[in-house]
Amino acid sequence: TSRESPQTAASGGPAASAAQQQSAGPGCTRSRTGYPQVDVKGATVGFSQSEKEANPFRTAETQSIRDEAAKKGVNLLVTNAQSDLNKQISDIKSLLDRGAKLLIVAPLNSDGLQPAFDAAKAKQVPVITIDRKVTSQPCTDYLTFIGSDFVEQGKRAAQQMIKATGGSGKVAILLGSSGNNVTVDRTKGFKDGIANSGLQVVAEQTAEFDRSKGQAVMEQLIQSNPGITAVYAENDEMGLGAVTALKAAGKTPGKDVKIVSVDGTRSAVQLVADGSYTAVIESNPRFGPLAFETLEKFARGDEIPQSIVISDDEYDTSNAAQKLGNAY
């Protein structure tokens, strides 16, 4: 063929599964909310995606919701906010308007969706937020949150880093987009995680979750800090960019310079398996089964915890080859 193969399709791999069901307060039940019972099967469900499906995480996330919806015989309506917060509010309102009785929302941002939640509340439609936690009230504004703990991801990345470096050396952090709370949490977790080790952060610069920016920033940092021995990238894409930069600078990523990142995309895990990447902390995007299961439970009247933190896997040199199939 005359076509280079794109990365393998996003489906497959393990669905997200609940790791812990944190419950600071009491859980949420249908009776507490007073919402009507809606059978998932045959129901109209709205899914509001936040960004274009132009990166593996989003692609896998949407696909997982679609697949599960088809399996459950759900009439699924999908919108995409194209990274515009006001549009996401509009999207959610229009989903409600078009008859969605249950909502799954991948929030663009932790703050600012209150008007959309209020609209859902007014129509007694339960909302499950996935992948990103919002600052509104669980059970009243939205039903529950299903997703990873980004701070925890940062901490686990720190543990991997300490393991790989023996707890000493100079680290550069490739930050995600400024103003994004995923960036904030993954940074906090990582810094807390290395606080008591000998690792020292010598540079932290944003590369906007983008591979080519990761490459460009890394190139600059290698020049000015030749002593860098470790790189923590807040997503795989930036990490992959860093690998290219390091190779071009004559370093051996994974050996001279350890690289740990968060996501679990196939390209990154493959590199771990090949030995030129240190470790990848997974951020599982396959929320479909868990989300619909939670909606079913809610319909049955079961108690739903305030947030459902999923168990994320991690890939390091010891397991990446076997687990490659789980990557997305």
Partner: protein, 316 residues
């Protein structure tokens, strides 16, 4: 001057070009999508349009003077953050702080453009960066999102409704009426047209061109800040990630509304119609529902193209 005459003859037609497109869009959508005409949907359309309309109003003035303001997207976001922060100190702080700061940055834009002969494009591009940087600086690199207390009077500004229609709609409408009157019925408005129509001539005719420019950029900054404040009240928080690319939306809306990018000609009504068009298209894309997210921008681009080409053809 030959083209000008043609322009006059069809001036009305031209202005109606966008209006005709909007009417057609609305009627077709109404017939095709049963949910399009629902009161809820229309309320949301109007509300979403109102924030953009406030920004685009300022942009209309700027563009009529022959300038452009790229900083409005950042100022919009900055205004929201300042308002949310200010809401801790009461209603007035929440409302005035963004107006003053964003208006101040607009004023600096205006001074640089009017007094130093620097291109508006580049000055406001720098402000776009500056305002975004300032926003990050006051939010601890975006880590802090200030919340507006849900029971404060300021929230009411963004979330209060009359017959289900949100306050921002009325605020935007009032501002547009006022803006239209200023543009067409005051000396300042005439100066705006003269500045954009033929700057050198305007100077020779005694028009205070520099002052006019300073004023329009100040106005544009202030309105962007106000839109940000309204949005913060509506969202109940000073969201840091909004406003990216909003300047392009505002410019597109103004141009679709028939305002000449080269200056000297334009209407507020046209801008309002332009806002309507953009929001209706977005809404219709949602109503279709099955469009792949990547196709959505293709459709938006094609639509933008169709509108401007149509308008150009009508103008002939």
């Amino acid at each position: 001057m030959t083209t000008l005459t043609a322009a006059t003859r069809t001036k009305v037609l031209q202005r109606q070009g966008a209006a005709v497109a909007l009417t057609v869009m609305v009627v077709v959508s109404w017939l095709t999508f049963p949910r399009f005409g629902s009161l809820d949907n229309l309320r949301d359309l109007a509300l979403q349009g109102s924030f953009l309309a406030v920004i685009a109003l300022g942009m209309t003035f700027v563009i009529i003077t022959g300038g452009i303001d790229l900083s409005v997207g950042s100022l919009y976001a900055l205004g929201g953050v300042l308002a949310a922060w200010g809401s801790q100190h009461g209603f007035l702080t929440a409302l005035l702080l963004p107006l003053v700061v964003c208006g101040g940055i607009g004023l600096i834009n205006g001074l640089l453009i009017a007094r130093t002969n620097m291109a508006p494009f580049i000055v406001t591009l720098a402000s776009l960066l500056f305002a975004r940087g300032l926003l990050l600086a006051i939010t601890d690199e975006g880590a802090n999102t200030y919340q507006v207390a849900p029971d404060s009077a300021f929230v009411e500004l963004g979330r209060g409704t009359v017959a289900g229609f949100g306050y921002p709609i009325f605020i935007a409408a009032a501002l547009c009426v006022l803006g239209g009157a200023i543009l067409n019925r005051t000396g300042f408005g005439q100066n705006v047209f003269a500045t954009g129509g033929a700057e050198q001539s305007a100077i020779l005719m005694g028009v205070p061109v520099a002052r006019t420019k300073v004023l329009v950029y100040t106005m544009s900054g202030t309105l962007a800040g106000l839109a940000g404040a309204l949005t913060a009240a509506y969202l109940q928080s000073g969201v840091t990630v909004i406003g990216v690319g909003t300047e392009l939306d505002a410019i597109a809306v103004v141009v679709i509304g028939g305002t000449l990018l080269t200056g000297g000609m334009g209407t507020v009504l046209g801008t309002v119609i332009g806002v309507g068009l953009i929001k209706v298209i977005q809404n219709v894309i949602n109503q279709i529902g099955t469009l792949d997210s990547n196709y959505q921008s293709v459709v938006s681009g094609v639509f933008l193209l169709i509108v401007v080409v149509l308008q150009r053809i009508l103008r002939r």
